[in-house]
Symmetry: C2
Subunit: 288 residues, 2 copies
DNA sequence: AGGCTCTTGCCGCTCAATGGAAGAGAAGGT
DNA sequence: ACCTTCTCTTCCATTGAGCGGCAAGAGCCT
């Protein structure tokens, strides 16, 4: 995709039979890849956690859009406020975009309800408290509270986590509709730090247990030994909306005690979102 | 702007001399207001705090784009993830947009550095802690921590605050470059709840004091009696980047004690952002 | 059943968007 | 001082992507 443009573009040599062409080929509109709007958003998608500011060239290369078009589009985005440009000419994501994006019900809206209860959990556990939702086949970290004396930071707000090897991920997967579960289980999965393959049968058993207990407890040795205890949050439609989790170092962990705390907080948040049924153990959808 | 489209559009009667036109006028492309990209973002801008979910009709009306075009554009935004559509057909801001927007240096990036120090302030004061940046002629609330026992919530994360009648606003204004200050002071300003006009001279004196002390202390009686104590945060370029504030109820407030706490926290955040000079009293820019 | 609003698909007409070329500017090497 | 290389910006002839009125379908309240 990205290189198609170059391949299709007219090379200076031998495109037409005419050996010297005084009438320019300028203005020939090559078949472009995407409609305008998609291109505009391709510019936004060129940014990621490792590239929060990009020069024009970088932006053009990473989005696969010719420089001149990139400049023109970026100009529009800047005029609106979706992008900002520093004195050094580098582009960053604009605050205006952050402003409208903060209206996302599954982002800021969810966070607004959850934050006080997350604060409670943080005060009690003095470690990390995570709030994540499912986005595609991954979990997306919506908020993270971390006490000072907490262990090293693991994930970034706005970052993605695998579904099958994190506490929040397991919860989101366990209570998802069975159709989606099947599609995830069909694909080969590995635990990332060590690249250990995941047995679908074992994962299926784990998910059943998560549904039965209403909590997911996940232990990990690498990179740091830790325990994650996670519980589901249900929305007004009584379907799973998010997952709440506490992450503590393995040594001084008492998962038996953390479970009820996390489940209670998750229940309170569910109630705050308008959930009525299935706040207890029995997950909606996904039987057995 | 919004109605121009209608006015310019061909009315069924008497557009051409031909009295009855069997060949349809369909497909006539009227002169539209805005380029595609701007329209796409106009759709996003149609959402606000009071309208987090919109039907197609509402979206069309609020953005001033004809229904069919709205549907087509919204379809693209949904395909990318900038919008989401519920089972009821209503549109909301999409999580994918929230994800990229969380890369905004002045949003999530700033918050990431500030949050731990804000947590400290919250634990000490047990009230509201605000973090805001300047966006245009207003302040934008980037983060808010509120203890449980805190007074009623005032502002919404992602919401806007006036510069001249809030603690964070005064700080952002006081340390802004003098050119911008002048442009704000030139316009008539009022304190909003009571609509009391603001005297430019008094405001100028206040700003000078804020610069001298390195803190803004603002008392308000309505809607609730409260005190806001705010301090500036400087970035790597040693210019003002954000403002930090504690908001406490007026009765049990001790502003003299809060000042140093807020200033210390703000300084720590400045250092975390890479500021070297002007962490102390003397603001950059804006002399006298 | 009739009227109303909201949503969706259709389609021929244009003009907004296009990307290469060339100019401007900065940085670095010989 | 001169050339090379790189990035950024402006310009413009071409054309297909985007345009919106229309009408049919789907609910929903009289």
């Amino acid at each position: 995709m990205l290189t198609d443009g170059n391949l299709l573009c007219t090379r200076p040599s031998a495109v037409t039979d005419a050996p010297a062409d005084p009438g320019r080929v300028r203005g020939r509109r090559p078949p472009h890849g995407d409609p305008v709007v998609d291109r505009a958003f391709a510019l936004l998608a060129a940014f990621d956690a490792g590239h929060r500011s990009l020069s024009l060239g970088e932006l053009s290369r990473r989005s696969g859009i010719p420089t001149s078009s990139t400049l023109r589009l970026a100009g529009r985005l800047i005029a609106w406020g979706a992008l900002e440009r520093g004195d050094d000419g580098r582009f960053t994501i604009g605050l205006r975009l952050w402003e409208v994006a903060s209206l996302a019900p599954r982002g800021q809206g969810l966070k607004q309800v959850a934050l006080p209860f997350m604060g409670d959990l943080e005060e009690v556990t003095r470690q990390h408290v995570l709030l994540a939702v499912r986005e595609g086949t991954e979990a997306l970290l919506v908020e993270r509270l971390s006490a000072h004396q907490a262990m090293d930071v693991l994930y970034r707000v706005g970052g993605r986590l695998p579904l099958h090897s994190t506490g929040v991920g397991l919860v989101l997967l366990a209570f998802a509709d069975s159709e989606f579960q099947a599609s995830v289980l069909d694909q080969p999965l590995v635990h990332l730090p060590e690249r250990v393959p995941v047995s679908p049968a074992a994962l299926r058993r784990t998910l059943a247990e998560v549904r039965r207990e209403g909590v997911a407890t996940l232990r990990r040795r690498a990179p740091q030994p830790l325990v994650s205890v996670a519980a589901p949050i249900f929305g007004a439609d009584d379907k799973i909306t998010a997952a709440l989790s506490v992450v503590v170092p393995l040594e001084n962990a008492e998962p038996r005690l953390l479970g009820p705390a996390v489940r209670t907080a998750a229940r309170s948040i569910s109630r705050g979102l308008g959930a009525r049924r299935s706040i207890g153990h029995n997950g909606s959808g996904a039987s057995a």
